[in-house]
Every structure is written in structure tokens, then in C-alpha cells.
Amino acid sequence: MPKITIDGIECEVADGLNVIEAAKTIGIHIPHFCYHPALSLVGQCRMCLIELDPIPKLQTACSTFVKDGMVIRTNTEKVIKARKAIMEFLLINHPLDCPECDQAGECDLQNNSFEFGQGFSRFEEQKRTYSRDIPVGEKLVRIQDRCIHCTRCIRFFREIVQNEVMTYQWRGNNTAMTPLEQDGRRLDTNYSGNMHELCPCGALTLKDFRFKTRPWNLANTESVCPLCSTGCNIFIDHKQRKIFRIRPRVNMDVNTWWICDFGRIDFGYAHSETRIAGPRVKGADADWKTALDTAAGLLKTTGASATAILCSADATNEEALLVKKLAAALGCSAASLPAPGVDPLEMEDHLLLRADKAANTQGLKALGIVPDPALADKLSGGAIKTLLLINPFNKQLAAALDGVRDAVAKIPNLVVLDHNETDFSKAAAVVLPGAVWAEKNGTFTNYKGLVQRINQAFAPAGKARGDFDILLALAQGAGADIACKTHIDAYNEIRDDLLKLEAQIKKDIEALQKAAAEAEKA
Amino acid sequence: MDSAVLATVILALIKIALILAVLFTGVAYYSLAERKFSAFMQDRIGPNRCGPFALLQPLADGVKFFLKEDVIPHHVDKVLYLAAPAMAMIPAMATIAVVPFADPIPAPASGLFASLGQIQFQLADINVGMLYIFAVSGLAVYGVVIAGWASNNKYALLGSLRASAQMISYELTLGLSVLGVFMVYETLQLDAIVAAQTSFISFLPVAIPKWGIVVQPLGFLLFLIATFAETSRLPFDLPEGEAEIVAGYHVEYGSMKFMLFMLAEYSHMIIASAVITCLFLGGWNLPWVDMSSLPAVQRVAAQLAVFTAKAGFFAFLFIWVRWTLPRFRYDQLMRLGWKVLLPLAIANLVATGAFYVVKYTVGIG
């Protein structure tokens, strides 16, 4: 733990930190553009220059690592002058088109120029411009004029995505960050969207979010991505009950700084036209009371052996608890179906994507809602007369149901709880419109057992209700005596189970890794 | 029927028609004048949309009042509520019956009116003219009180209570202040009082007309002030008191019924102006100008013009004072009435009486 002095403040910081990170720990912000903790150091923006005793020349904070006794100054006249100089240099060729630029409002360049820029320009010459006709794929918009040559994009694709699709072109003042759309390399990687946050100016912006709104108009709700079992931490940026974009939230245990482009862009189903508008009984619109009463009645009609509950792994842990209680009240089984060939730990790529396309497989497992291979037979054999089908819109459950699609559609007492229309909801006796993940509270357990909270960004669309409330009403209608009335109560009830699972999975993973390491050694 | 009686009745009907027509027109244009003059005093222009110089404005106002929805609130005493505007209007109209406007003219030699001998410019020449005026105008307070009572509204009731208290208080001053005039002219008959004012004060070297304002200056002032109070004009408009009791007794009234209250108020002012003119300003006469030698029609026209001018000045004075002085506080009003004006009126009465005692004993004048 080296002891250092920053701006006269003596502090002890962790080993191996650079000065930017060390200063951050005591709340001193050192402006920077090219530095990113996940990427290699290049020290080329020169914004993070600091004074380091006794070196006469200013040093870059990003490439200076703390050593015991270091004396750092970040607020001297010389440093401020250098920062102002760098800011001026960066802005002479940067087009001042913040009004058009999507980055405005969350732009490092803008923020730093508020602090170190000046209100006028001494640059009278022709600004440097670039051609805009360079294809950058479907996900991003590139406006090279705005580029400040931090090379974060190049390094990100080289070091994180490991697919070098960006490079330099030309030299000197005409240097351009150019996509290498050749040799089968395209900018449309699964992680290109991260440029949206990574690019410190507006040179690379997200096409999906382009011109939709301004970032300062958006409310940010902390949540977890539901699209695979990785459970990437995200912000849901929304306005007027509509999601505008998904942004990664830094969590060094799960997704570090990144999310994949599926998680970033595929939230359309939350606002799609196929959202179930309201509760239905036998195809006709009904009010909630009728629908819930009818559903609860139906679930009780055919007896325990002919009744089943089938739940997708998109349910939160709290909802899963209610499913279990409902099953207990009905005396039937609650199960998910095995997704064909899905191992929760299997990776789809080297970074974040997992094969398991449901958010909470592990959580359901911890609560005993596990795949029941016999259920498929029972369904196709017609043994099940009453089925509560929860969220068949989930891709994984839909795939698992593929073989028994017709059989399920023919079940007389089919109750479907889902947020979007499917073949099942169209065939169902009772349809209960549920909420998408952005509209609920609860917890997901990710592939390695980590229990993460999702927060409600806005109320469920239209007449839809939270799944927890619906299941609570169903369970009460089925005669269950349920103590937990809120998701918090439910979480408190299952917390121990979840923590046990987390410990177990951790152990399993360690064992697996050890085995893999030994296999490699051998 | 006796032809003289018939002639009298017909003449009276014609006079009533004429006087009412003139009075209503006068009231209408008086309200316009009030609006215009108030505008001028406040550096404004006032109404200028209806006709040249807004001369059609009163018509428009009247049409507006007629066309407005006649609302009768459900909580009012319906009979009294409907009667009150009429009760306010009728005394105001009736008062003018005894006011003379000019010297009588000889009746036409032949025809229906020949038997009358002369035609008076006065509806009823009764020998207790002033008493009649006091009596009838005193009735006006009933309209106000009943309006306030019938409205069943606390502001209206407060307004009418104020009105009755104020009118009773100032009626005394009004009556006492004018007694001096009666002493001087030794009559209650208004045309006689006017006639008496054509003479000059006898014991003074310069010819000063023996007008009421000259012989009874204090009486004039007291009468004027009391008149303002009687007509509820500023600074004595406490019955209305927009600021504290919304609009007083007529707060619940709208459309025509409201208009009747307004007509009554403006009629009162016109009549009060006419009475003051008769009592203190020599009526239709001009001193040092002898109009009696003129032919009858010209003479009447000239006298009417003089009378209108004099009365018009007082009518203007009402407006002028309204836009100059602020409203009294209620206690100030009462103190002024009882502790200042009433003693002064009595003092004036005593002084006048004393003067005549001396005069008749000593024999001057």
C-alpha cells in the first residue's frame, strides 16, 4: 500500500493503481479521454497531465503508477495551463455541432471543455473534415469530423472484442479512425454498441438511439439484463413509460464495463404491438376480477394429476416462490421445460454472451422448479387437462415447447400469463397480461448464482399487471394462505436458499475450473 | 266630466309623459356622462364605440340589461325581492312631481286648456312642495332596505342596514339645513321660493341676488353634503361599498332589476340637482337679466336652458366629487352626520331665526 501525496492530501492507495485511479479514490478528478481502465495505456490525449515531483516535465497520470512517497500535483497553474492548451487543441478541429450531436449531454469532451475550454476560438483557419461515406455497419453512426483520436475504439475492438475491425488511416492531422470493412471483418460485432459509451465525443454514436431524445431527458433505473443468464448490470434509460436505450452498469463481478448489443438494442418487445392489451376469458376481453376468478377456478377443476404449471426461467425468484406455493395449493407440479442442449455455464463467445437465454435458470433451480422431462410426454399424451403457462414468449421456453405446440394449444383449461401474444395466448381459455422485466421488481440469479435486483422502471403497460401480483391473486384464489404480500417479503423468505445456491455454484465452478486447468496441464 | 278637470288630467298626463321621457333620457345620458367624465379625470377616453361620441352607449347598455338573463336566486324572498327595485324606483320618480322648471305660461286662449288660465312647468304645484319631497324621498330607503332583506345575503343585508342608518341620519340635517331657506322665503312652495329669489338683498349697497346660496351659505353647504349622503354617492356610498361588502344591497340583483336600482340612483341625483337649483340657485332665473319681456315660448326655452345649466352643474358636481374623494369609514360617516352636520344645521337654524327676530324687532331690511 504505497503512501502518496496528491494536491497536498496524503493518502494510502492500493498497489498497482495509476494516478488517475489513485486520485479518484480521494475524490480528485483528473480529466482524460484516451484512458479507460479496461484498455491498454497509450497516453496520447495528453489531457491527464500532472506534475510529479521532481520531474520538470508534466507526466501523464494514466501511465504513471503510484510508488511510495510520490508527490503529485493536479491543480497547479502549469497543469491547468496544459489542460487548457490540450482542450484548445482538441477543439480547433472538432466541429462545434453539439446541437446536432447525439453525445451532447454525456460527452467527455463537452464536460471537460466546460471546465478547461474557453468561450472563443483563436483558430481562424479551415477546419479539417473527412468524408462521411465510410460504411460503419448497421449499429453505429460514424462522424469522423468529431473524432478526437483517443483510439479507444481501436483498442476496444483489438483488446476486448478481439476482432480488429477499427484502425488508423492516414497520418498527422488527418488521422482517421477507420473501420476495416474487409477480409470478412465488419464493425457489426456483438459489442459494437459499447462505442456509445466508450467514445468520449460524438464520433461514434448508436444508430438505434440516434435523435430519439436527449440523454438528460431520460430517467435511469438500475436493473439487470434479462436476455441471457450472464445477468449483465444495466441502466434502463426511459422517459414517459418508454425505454429509449439500455446502458451497461459497471459491475466488475459480472459484466465489467460492457454489455452485448442484444441486451442493448433488443428491448422492443416491451413496447411492441403484440403486447397483450388486457385480460381475456375465452377470447373475450374481461376485467381483472373476472379473469383472475375464472383462472383460479379453472386451475382447481381437473384435479392435481391433470394439472400442471409450466414456467419460463424469466420469472424472478419471488415469482418463482409464488409459483411453487400455487403448485402446492393445487397439489400439482411446477416445472420448467428443459431447453434443448443448454448448459447454464456455456459461453457463446469469449466475453459475455451465454447459451442459456433465460435470466433466472439458477434461481428457479434453487427453488425446485427444475426441468421436468416427463412433462413433455404428459402434454403430448393429453394427460394434462389444466395448464398454467407462464411466459411462453421466452425464446427458450418457446423452443422447448416446439414439439408439443399443438398439444398445448388443445388443452381445454389453458391459462397463459405473458406479456406478449403467442400462439398459446391466442389459444388460451384465460389470458393474464403480465409485465416485462422493466416493469417489475424482484431478483434474478445469474449463471454463477449471484442474486441481483431488478427495479421497476415504470408501471406495466396498459391494463397489464406485475406477474407477482397476478400470481399472488391466483394463489389466493386457489386457496393458498400466503404470508408474503410483496416482493420484499418474498425475497426475505427465499434469501437463505438463494445464498446457499450461490455458495454451491461457486464451489462447482471452482471445481470445474480446477478440472479444466488440470486437463490443460495434462 | 268637467272640461277643466279633463284638461287638468290630460295636461298632467302629457306632463308626466314628458317629464318621464326627459328624466329617463337624462338618467341614461347621465350615466354616460359619468363614465366619460370619470375617464377624463383618469386620463382615459371612456366609452367610444357606440355611435359618435358614444352617444348610443346608453342605448346599448339598456339593450344589454334587457337581454340579460333574469336570474332570481333560489334563496331570496321572492315577493320582496321582486318588489324592492320598484320600491326604489317609484319614490325617485315621484319626487320630481313638485319641481318647477320655468315660469308658467298663459294657456292658449281657446281649446281644451283655455280653462286652465295658465300652464305651469311643474307637475303638481302644491303648497307643501318641499315637505312632499322630503316625504317621498324618505320612502326610497324602503327599496334599499327591502332589497337587502329580500336578498337573504349577508352583504346585501349589511348594505341595506348601512343605507337605512345613513339615510335616517342625514335626513335630519337635510331637513334642518333647509329650514333656514323657508324662513327667508317664508314658503314651502318651490315655485314661490324660486320667485322669491329674483329679488335682491335690500339692505346692501350692491345688488346681490337674494339666492339661497347667498342668504344661507351654511345651509347650502349642509344641504349639499346631506344630499350626497342621501343619494349614496361618494364619499357616502357605504351601502354599496364594493371593497368591503361587494356591492351592498344589490349584490343579488341582475339585468333589469339591477338597472332599476341604477335608474333610481341617477334619478335621485338629477332630482337633487334640480331641487338644489330651486332652493339655492334661483331656479331658472338669472340675476340682472329680465326674461319676462320675451315672448312666452322663447322665455320658457331660455328659462329651461338656464335651469338645465344650473342643475347640470350640480349633476356634474356629483360626478366630480365621486372621482375625487374616497369613501368614508362608517364611524366617520356617523360622526360627521350627528356630531358635525346636525349641530351646524341647528346652529344655522337658530342663527337665522335670531336674525329675523332682530330684523322684525329692529326693523331693518
Binding site: 495528453r46 484548445e88 483510439t151 498527422g172 | -
Partner: protein
Amino acid sequence: MAEIMKVVTRNMDVPDQHTIAVAMQNGAYEQLKKALEMTPDAIIEEVKKSGLRGRGGAGFPAGLKWSFVPKQAPKPKYMCVNADEGEPGTFKDRVIMSKDPHLLVEGILIACYAIGIRDAYIYIRGEFVEPANILQKAIDEAYEKGFIGENILGKDFTCHITVHRGAGAYVCGEETGLIESLEGKRGQPRLKPPFPAVVGAFQGPTVVNNVETLANVPRIFEHGADWFAAIGVEKNSGTRLFGISGHVNKPGVYELPMGTPIRELIELAGGVRGGRKIKAVVPGGSSAPALTPDQLDTQMSFDALGAIGSMGGSGGVIVMDETTNLVCVLTRLLEFYAHESCGQCTPCREGVAWLKKIMQRIRRGQGKIEDIDLMLEVAGNIMGNTLCPLGDAAAMPTRGFLTKFRAEFEAFIKSGANAEGTPMAGEGAVQVSVPAAE
């Protein structure tokens, strides 16, 4: 009057010196044999004692640099010979490589032996086609003779020398830029630290030395460190190859002891063309701030030039007579630096291009008096804030010209003259005849 002192250039007038046969007749590789008998540490000590300073520009002591390389390193160590002679006005290494390549090879081998390097790369400027060919031929001959390769001279010393031709980027003359380029990457300097002596080419410890530096090494062993240290002035030992160009009658490469006054060098080069007066002299390559005529008695040594705010640099002396238009000179220089900026770090990429644009505007006759102060400030903002010295190299002469010859710039701006179309320095205004060692 200074005397030409032929140390490095001793054999350069010998015909066919570039062939190994002739070179060996003149003693080539004798010092290698001598050095291989010594311990590596002793060699480094000897070089340190000689006071040999790097001839590339910064003047860093060569022995010290060698001693920085860790003895035991997990990765192989490398020697990079900087033959990317791109500095305007500098043309001394080319002479060595084309006239006496074996001297360089011998120097490289001694250095490699001293540091324990098995692989040396000569990074030669792409435009130097002929010197590269001569050098390659010399290396091939040395391989044949067993001076390069496995177990040199029967000793436990293996060294390979490769000629790597650059693609003509000035910035590849910077040591980390050179290494990047050598690795096959885009030629742009690396962030330091780590310094090449710790992590250099192919992640291994690397020594980067100038051609002339290494060419001096055999001479040190031939005559001894003390002899070498005695030449020149204190702390600036040995001789230097000065490439003099510009408005002198006999431009060319002259070898003189360090510390010779500039005036004497100019006289040696035949004086100023047409007997005109001198306006400015650039003492050490275009990056060095120019000297005014009253500074011509300054000694040509790293320390003396540094003391007056210029620098010894690469030894390229450019003489400008009174007819020279300094506006054109500075414009040309800035065009060069802006063109050669790698575009990596902000002050150099944006600042130098900005300076260039202002200077071009002034040259077009659209300058303003305030532009001079603006340029001085911009240059000041570049100085010291860049990743590599290229930014400084552009800012230093800018500041030098603008402060020392401010009156001329102001007069030019005030006159509103448009100098576009008049030849700029290097476009016929400065005549260079090569090679002219004598």
C-alpha cells in the same frame, strides 16, 4: 582556423572502402577481435570512459545507455541501429553507410557483444536505396567472413544483423517509433515508460543507437578511451560529422572535433555563397532553433549549444544568407513537421497543423501581427506536452525563428507581401552536393 579531424571518416576517401577486402586492409574488424577478448563489462566501462555521447540528437552517453539493459532478461535483447536519417539538413549517416559500412558493422558487433545481444537491426531510411544496398552487401560479405553469424571468430558470441528498410516516416527516427515500425506496426512512438532498455522491440530490452555513435566505437578501441576523451571539449568528447548545407560555397560533411565554433565550420565550407552576410544558422538539424550571426562563435557541442537555447541535435548545419526569406523557411519547416506528425497525441497532431496553417496564411500575405504571439503561445503549449519529441522538434524552431527574427516576420506581415510562389528552403534555395567528404 579549425582543422578537419578524420576519425570516423578516416578511410572514407579510400576507393572501394565499402568492400570488405579493402576495408580489412585498412584495419576493419581488428577492433572486434580485440573487443571479443575483453569482458562485456570492460567494454562498457571503456565506452563510458571515452565519454561517447549519442550522435542522434539528444546526446545521451552511449555507455550509460548500454549499461541500463538488464544483464539477465527473460526475453531476448535487441540492438536497433537508427539509420533513419530523416532530419532536414542532416546527411552524415548516409555517408558512413555508403562509404565505410564495415565500420558501422564492427561497431554494432562490439556493442552487441558488450550488451549480450544476438539480434541487431539496422533500421535504414527507405529513401536510402543505395546506402541500403551497400550496407546489405557489406553485411553479406561479413557473414561470409564469419564476422557476423554463429560463433563469431570462434568465440561464444552469436550475432545477426538485419537491414530493415523503413518507409520514409520521419517519426520512425524516434526510438520507440522505430521499434514499432520494426515490429511491423504503424510507425508511431510508444508511451514511455517503459523505456526501450526495459521493454523494447518484440517486448525485449532494446538498445537504440545512432549510426555515427556506433561508428565511433571501433575507433575508441583502436586508440583507447583516453585518446577519444581528449578530443573535443569537456563532456563532449570525440569528433562529429557535421553536414553543412545551405548558402555555403562548399556544402558537405565535415568531421571536426566537438566544440569547434560554427564560424570556423562555415569558413571551412568555403564561406557564404557570394560573400553575402549570414542571416541565420541552424546548428543541429531543422529541429534546433536557429542562431543569429552574433552567436556564430558558439562552440558546436551539445552543452554549449544547449546553453544558448539551441541544441547540438543531429549535426546538420544549415546556413542561410541575408537573401533568405525566413517566412518561407518556417512555413516549409512547419509543413514538414505537420506532414510527419504521426497523429497520435493531441498537441502535436492539432498544434503543429495549426501552426502550419497560420504560417501558410502569413506566407499568402493574410497574416496579422497578433499571429506571431498566437504562434508563440501555441508552440509553447506544444512544448513538453507531447508523447515524443516530434512536437518539441516543431515547436522549438518555431519559437526560435519567431523570437530571434520577430522583426522580419512583423515586417513581412505589415508589408502584406504574398510570398507564395517564391521558392522555400529546400526547393532550390538550398543547394546540397553529396557526398563531399574531404
